[in-house]
Symmetry: D2
Subunit: 165 residues, 4 copies
């Protein structure tokens, strides 16, 4: 069975709008990234939304939960802004109907459109963790994975750190 | 305990020598790639050799086996040329003293020095598989992992494929 | 005699601040760009300011004029935001004491820090025009050069166009 | 009248063949480079050959001369391997029927396909010199231009140097 990839936006997928001189969302670049990575994992990509995770509402989170609940796939990768990735992970973990699924949230500190992005590394990492971790909700950043309730983003350093619960 | 990374060369680590107009090996770029990926996994990198895998001798393979056997770490990633990655995986699997270790070989079809490389994706993938797979010898390419004796490189397409054993 | 390069900021020199998730100015990247271009032209680089050209005040423009007037070099390249590049060119053309100098303003639509920037192309272009054009004030964008009073930026397309004066 | 661009290959246009793990020629990337540079100069691109300049025969050079002689355009940029760029410049300068044309040869030390290429810088430079230099045959490298008989490539450093004639 394929792996479901849900795209929600975040720094990961920001692009540069040269007319207005700012970072914006256009179409997701996840498909292009998988081609660049010569990825041969069977995936189904769906763009659920394209927003900054700081702008994500409760309704947006419920839309993500719904997508995870309703899709047939048992393994799901979610690309997400880093600022509220942990909140969305908690919303997923607290929802019914996803208990048998392995869900891995990932993102990037630098947009993929920059040459120096961490996006390819993180996407390769998340796609690998989702294939091997038992059911549950995880955050995959900085080459590591964390259970949804044992991680936080350090806003000073930009690094995801373990939390002693 | 940290993860051991053994560097052996391969396309992954080729660089362009502008004076002689050809691809060569200089120092490994694996450390720089991990910095770019904002990797926070505790790793120990050792360059064992810097060669094309088509030039790899039995003695070279034994040097890799020795490094895997003698290091304290239980989890090992090996960067390797793709052409004989499967042979080295077989040499490792047939050796004594590594049975309790998880060893993941990876590489790239395009040198990291090119903007369009699959190296970052593969490195993120291999580092993630090694953290979650049980002891054994694996090849991680194209976002997938394979047991050492269930994979081959398709020379026409450049893709690693499952082999029915 | 060397060529003077005056750095004033603009899109050209924007970088990504991954902690605050926005484009900012840090140190100028012009020196690095010249190294990447294997440039062997004798240049003196001076950072006059690092600002968006939409934020440029009359006093800022006078600082640029002063720098052009006082430097010994007869050939000057100015890196500048594209939105008010033409205004600064006009301020220079209307000033005393620079009549014998060749001054070329250039910039970029995409920050150099992006892989897809037009910055290297424009920098190579401006440095070449300044070596060969007679004294005067010019804008060099899109591979072309324009006299200061015969050009405007088309805000819809981002392209610099000739103006019939 | 447009500028003629003649493509002959060279490091400039080398690409990586991931199946055979070597640098090869495919279609020229000059058109893509001009798009990336947001170039609005009116150009006509013609691929005359795609070869290493060390493999260039007298007949190949005559083909380049013929193209320069027969095209309507008075301004011509030639992309060329660096090793024998000066020989081709000499062949052009010694030929009849091109005396009223401005011809600028350029190339790159690093293939454009690498993120770290000097190709965009050199292409921007050559296109600018050809618009402003008087009729003659020139080499444009390292941000500088040279008359055809006053330059050589330093094979140790890869830099084009003035020759006292």
């Amino acid at each position: 069975m394929p792996i479901r990839i849900l795209v929600t936006g975040g720094t990961f997928d920001k692009q540069y709008d040269e007319i207005h001189a700012k970072l914006v969302f256009k179409d997701s670049q996840v498909g292009e990234m998988l081609r660049l990575g010569r990825c041969r994992v069977d995936v189904q990509i769906r763009t659920v939304m394209m927003i900054d995770s700081l702008d994500m509402s409760d309704a947006d989170r419920q839309a993500i939960v719904q997508n995870c609940r309703q899709c047939e796939e048992k393994k799901i990768v979610i690309t997400h802004g880093t600022d509220t990735m942990v909140e969305t992970a908690a919303a997923l973990a607290g929802s019914e109907g996803i208990g048998e699924k392995t869900i891995v949230l990932t993102g990037a500190m630098i947009p993929y459109a920059f040459g120096s992005s961490d996006g390819m590394f993180n996407l390769g990492s998340a796609l690998s963790f989702v294939q091997t971790l038992p059911p549950g909700v995880y955050v995959a950043m900085n080459g590591r994975y964390f259970n949804w309730n044992q991680v936080r983003k350090n806003r000073q350093t930009g690094v995801f750190e373990p939390v002693v619960s």
